[in-house]
């Protein structure tokens, strides 16, 4: 047992970080559109970053839990509600059997992610749980979730270490105009100097022809030297194709593995979530950065994830002073150790911590 859907919402699918290893066979990678939000949701509930989550698009589903677990909701703010009351985002929150999670609207961004501690009971298909709508594989029978569906939990948790500390600052996706950084190429030499200048100076707007395959933009036409057709080449997530009509298309999670249009640049990994969360009408300005700069930002994001994981999973060492203090504090003699602010300073392995005892005692439960 796990979670039962009263309705599926506009487009709710099971996604992990994608089905890699089959692109040479023409199989799209799929996976989450906003990798940062999905990774953070998983980290908050103690999962591997690649664990399958629900990707919720614009109008959310309504789901009832049939088993206790811990969840986290991240990404675009689709106004999540637990039994009708505001549900905190970017925080690990225990849910109980009978609780109902719903989404009330769109306050920023367009895709929310729900991670479940211990993961969803969805079989791996070709090494991934991601739903590929076109090839009809992965996730729930290769399709979007509908009312009446039920997904089980693999290894649900009712508690996690440091539960009350498992939160991060929510990312703000409300801005309707953004700078998106790109690495130029691989076919930037197919454009005139004027074309490159247009691309890097004009404002482009997301159209409503945007989906999991790609986001079509409108704006000033980008000039080619000899048209936008090339002999078919490989495509990476975030590649910006410019066909002969001169308007950019950003290739997203369900993009085809190969294509025959010139690619002027590629969106850098850390800025891809901003594209995934954009809405029709939002504006974008492209800014060129070096591949080295983009990779430095990639590594910084990865390091941030690692640090969070370490922080969330850290347990006081058995027999250490910290634990002794906490046990004492939650026991009969609590008052003697507790200062008026409810915090306690301890030294563990030479490092000094200020401990909120109510938080720590919950983490140890």
């Amino acid at each position: 047992m796990g979670v039962k859907f009263a309705s599926g919402g506009f487009l709710t699918t099971v996604q992990d970080m994608g089905r890699t290893g089959y692109q040479e066979s023409g199989m799209s990678v799929s996976g989450v559109m906003d990798q940062r939000s999905a990774a953070l949701a998983n980290i908050l509930v103690g999962n591997e970053e690649n664990e399958a989550v629900l990707e919720i698009t614009l109008m959310g589903p309504m789901m009832e839990f049939t088993e206790d677990t811990v969840i986290a909701v991240t990404g675009g703010n689709l106004l999540p509600k637990q039994n009708g009351k505001d549900f905190p985002m970017y925080r690990a929150v225990p849910v109980r059997r009978g609780d109902v999670l719903s989404f009330a609207g769109m306050a920023g961004g367009s895709r929310a992610y729900v991670a479940f501690a211990g993961g969803l009971d969805i079989p791996l298909q070709m090494g991934s749980r991601s739903t590929n709508l076109k090839s009809k594989i992965g996730g729930l029978e290769g399709r979007k979730i509908a009312g009446g569906d039920e997904i089980g939990f693999r290894a649900p948790k009712t508690d996690l270490p440091n539960l009350r500390r498992r939160s991060v600052e929510p990312e703000d996706f409300t801005a309707s105009e953004r700078v998106i950084r790109v690495v130029m190429g691989p076919q930037d030499d197919c454009f005139t100097e004027k074309g490159i200048e247009t691309f890097l100076s004009a404002a482009y707007a997301y159209t409503n022809e945007s989906d999991r395959m790609g986001c079509r933009l409108e704006g000033e036409v980008i000039e080619h030297k000899n048209g936008g057709d090339i002999i078919t080449d490989g495509i990476a997530f975030g590649a910006i194709q410019v066909p002969s009509h001169g308007r950019p298309i950003i290739m997203m999670a369900d993009h085809q593995t190969t294509g025959g249009y010139t690619k002027i640049a590629g969106v850098i990994t850390v800025d891809l979530p901003l594209v995934a969360q954009a809405r029709p009408g939002d504006k974008v300005h492209f800014k060129k950065v070096s591949v080295e700069e983009a990779q430095k930002l990639y590594v910084e994001q990865k390091n941030r994830f690692e640090k969070l994981k370490e922080e969330f999973e850290r347990r006081p060492q058995a027999g250490g002073e910290l634990q002794a203090a906490i046990y004492a504090a939650v026991g009969h003699e609590a008052r003697r150790y507790w200062n008026p602010a409810g915090t306690y300073r301890v030294v563990v392995d030479g490092e000094e911590y200020t401990v909120d005892l109510s938080v720590e005692s919950e983490g140890l439960r």
């Binding site: 040479e24 066979s25 199989m27 070709m126 002999i231 080449d233 490989g234 990476a236 080295e292 930002l297």
Partner: protein, 242 residues
């Protein structure tokens, strides 16, 4: 290697470009490089995707950077001639031509002033190079069809074409891996499954490999179809000569 370019494709992929045309020579180089890269087992490489012109290498920048990776490629290019590359294989694709399986074969014959028999003979006479797979899972981009049976696409594309259908579009021939809409002139159908998500190797064909079509009877088609469903079919695969 002369003329090879390493082009950044965002921060997590590099396009190793060998040329800007469709040619068996470029395909051969791409195949050799792909095999060499796989043998080298460079940490951080996620997967590689061969196309007509390039090998797109997807990688993890937290494991290896653009500079480090392209340096490894550069030294690999220098020793490419010393790496043993196994000969490509040819896989036989049985096809039931004409009838309800190939409703457009008479169009193809009429367009080229040939008999249906001649169309089948020409279509089964060559070995077709699989330049790449793409578009949808398992779809092979084939080279090597005789111009003698080239036929323009249908004016009105069909809404649904059965998976396994073999068709002609202009000077290209191809096989639809799964049911899909399309405008190709359909000349036959193979009982083989080019794509089966539940099979250990979901996609049957590989870039750099060759295929040869063989004309089969209705009875043989049905027998192979059953063997494929039972998992007992023995694929006919042999090394390409020369």
């Amino acid at each position: 290697m002369d003329g090879v370019r390493y082009l950044a494709a965002g921060d997590s992929a590099v396009c190793v470009e060998f040329g800007n045309e469709i040619s068996p020579e470029i395909n051969k180089k791409i195949r050799a490089f792909k095999i060499a890269v796989e043998k080298e087992q460079i940490p951080g490489i996620v997967e590689t995707v061969p196309t007509y012109r390039s090998l797109l290498v997807h990688y993890r920048p937290d494991v290896i950077g653009f500079g480090g990776l392209t340096e490894r490629f550069e030294s690999l290019m220098g020793s490419l001639s010393g790496i043993p590359i196994p000969p490509p294989t040819v896989i036989e694709i049985p096809v039931l031509y004409g009838g309800s399986m190939g409703p457009d074969i008479e169009n193809v014959a009429a367009h080229n002033h040939k008999t249906v028999k001649e169309v089948i003979r020409i279509h089964t006479s060559g070995e077709y190079l699989i330049y790449m797979l793409g578009f949808i899972a398992g779809f092979p981009y084939l080279g090597g069809m005789s111009k003698e049976i080239a036929t323009p696409r249908l004016k009105n594309p069909r809404v649904k074409i059965e998976g396994g259908s073999v068709g002609i579009a202009g000077e290209q021939t191809g096989i639809y891996p799964v049911d899909s809409p399309g405008g190709w002139q359909l000349i036959g159908r193979t009982p083989l499954k080019l794509y089966d998500a539940d099979r250990e190797k979901p996609v049957l064909l590989e870039a750099g490999q060759y295929i040869r079509f063989r004309s089969v009877s209705q009875e043989e088609y049905e027998r192979i179809e059953k063997e494929v469903a039972d998992g007992t079919y023995q694929y006919v695969v042999y090394d390409k000569e020369g």
